[in-house]
């Protein structure tokens, strides 16, 4: 496996009673001319009962070991995007999706070293706000 990714999330404007569940996933998907492909690498779900166990306004951590492939790719017909995606299921039946993209690239400077098998990830420092859901920053561990 490659390096570890740690992302943190919190929900700012909603009470836990208004939320039925939260799903967090680390995934890649394709964009471009062809049909969209999607593969979830890491996935975790919190039910409403789980959400009442902790304070959702405080950052929660999501951690996973990234794979060595597929690397992020910016082609003409095809683009491969990696992201951390958070899906919030609300009591009213709506669901809200927020995602924080990052790039999975190879660490060129480490070729030949013992660390050459790892994959460096770069998660831009980013705050995404949509509706009342906030995905906080992710970072490399």
């Amino acid at each position: 496996m490659g390096q570890s990714l740690t992302a943190r999330w919190r929900i700012g404007a909603l009470a836990a009673e208004q939320i039925e569940g939260v799903e967090a996933s680390v995934l890649w998907y394709t964009e471009g001319k062809g049909g969209e492909d999607l593969h979830v690498h890491a996935f975790r779900r919190w039910s409403d009962a789980d959400l009442r166990q902790f304070d959702i306004t405080q950052p929660r951590r999501l951690r996973c070991d990234l794979p060595l492939s597929p690397l992020s790719y910016e082609g003409t017909l095809l683009r491969i995007r990696w992201c951390v995606r958070l899906r919030l299921f609300r009591s009213c039946g709506r669901d809200t999706v927020v995602q924080a993209p990052f790039q999975l690239v190879h660490q060129l400077g480490h070729i030949g070293d013992s660390g050459s098998r790892s994959v460096i990830t770069h998660l831009p420092q980013r705050d995404s706000l949509r509706d009342d859901l906030t995905v906080l920053t992710g970072r490399l561990s």
Binding site: G32, G35, L68, T76, S116
Partner: protein
């Protein structure tokens, strides 16, 4: 110029003519047998089942088709079985002959071995390479090479498909023509000629002749270009590494240009209405070797040892349900008198310094 003799002294393993001429002659003989079978069966069926309508129309002249011939006699069935035998012999032999065009003995042997090894078995844990969405390319390393470690398998041969399509067109059209000919001949035999159909046979024969010539041209193209062999020193490839190649092009060719390239194509599959379409874009192209104005003799194929180096920043191979990044080595030639050809040999490229590669050999 020495004319070929239809029979001559046996010469052991030596061949009187070229293998190419032999393949053409064999294909023509088998096609002729197939068409003769169609004609025979059609003639007998028309005489047996359409005789009643002829009797109603104009009456059967006495002695042309006897009562015994129009009933289920032993002779009728013997001729029908003979015609079906010709059909099976000609059609089956032609398909077998076409399947052998463009495939070397080694390749056919490797395909047979692979088919035998397709028995369900659990993969060994050490065989699993932790590189998701990258094709493992097990089929690429099935065949050992003579000069380098692996002989690469060619991508699905377009030549074979073209020959099969041309053969199907020619056989179906000419078989139909012979059926119509049988109907016309039967009409003349019973004294009720079908003039319209008779005159239509002429343009139909022209189309049939064109289809047959097209089939022969496709067969000549496929058989004349000869086999292409590509061997590589290691596989899968890794970005930033160098590899040795061995290329061998057989056939009887005069080439304006022969070019060996390492290419990377993006492939996207999408639906447009009810159609499934594939779009390709060449994302990377590296000319490994190019040579102009060369002649290739059947006894002296063109051989070359080359070196290819992958840049470190290229995208690795990728395969998903609708998208792919495909790497391959292509051998393309502008030939005369044959049309130009291009043969692809897929390879798998891993990210730079990925996981340790398991070497089967």
């Amino acid at each position: 110029m020495r004319l070929p003799k239809p029979w001559t002294k046996k010469r052991g393993s030596r061949m009187l003519g070229g293998a190419f001429v032999g393949a053409i002659g064999e294909a023509m003989l088998l096609a002729g047998l197939f068409l003769l079978g169609v004609f025979t069966v059609a003639l007998m069926l028309v005489q047996r089942f359409a005789a009643g309508s002829f009797v109603v129309r104009g009456g059967l002249p006495e002695g042309i088709i006897s009562e015994e011939a129009s009933s289920s006699t032993l002779g009728f069935w013997i001729v029908v079985v003979l015609g079906i035998s010709l059909l099976a012999l000609g059609g089956g032999g032609l398909i077998y002959r076409l399947l052998r065009v463009g495939a070397s003995d080694e390749r056919r042997s490797a395909m047979a071995s692979r088919a035998a090894a397709m028995a369900p078995s659990r993969p060994i844990a050490s065989d699993l390479v932790p590189l998701p969405s990258i094709p493992q390319g097990r089929g690429v390393t099935d065949s050992p090479g003579l000069h380098q470690a692996y002989r690469l398998a060619a991508d699905g041969s377009n030549d074979a498909r073209a020959v099969a399509a041309a053969a199907s067109l020619a056989l179906l059209w000419n078989a139909t023509w012979f059926v119509l000919l049988a109907v016309v001949v039967s009409g003349f035999l019973i004294g009720s000629p079908r003039w319209v159909l008779c005159f239509l046979l002429l343009p139909f024969a022209g189309i049939g002749w064109w289809a047959f010539r097209y089939f022969l041209d496709a067969l000549k193209k496929s058989a004349g270009v000869g086999n292409t062999i590509v061997e590589i020193s290691d596989h899968p490839l890794q970005a930033g590494e160098g590899y040795k190649l061995f290329i061998r092009q057989a056939g009887k060719l005069k080439l304006r240009r022969l070019r060996i390239e390492l290419v990377c194509d993006e492939e996207s599959t999408y639906r447009q209405g009810t159609d499934l379409r594939i779009d390709r874009h060449r994302a990377y192209d590296q000319i490994i070797h190019t040579e102009r104005d060369l002649s290739i003799d059947p006894h002296h194929p063109w051989e070359q040892e080359l070196t290819v180096c992958l840049p470190v920043d290229v995208m690795h191979s990728f395969q998903s349900a609708h998208n792919a990044v495909c790497w391959k080595i292509t051998v393309s030639g502008e030939a005369r008198p044959w049309p130009s050809f291009c043969r692809s040999f897929p390879v798998v490229v891993h990210p730079p310094a990925g996981p340790p590669i398991r070497h089967p050999r």
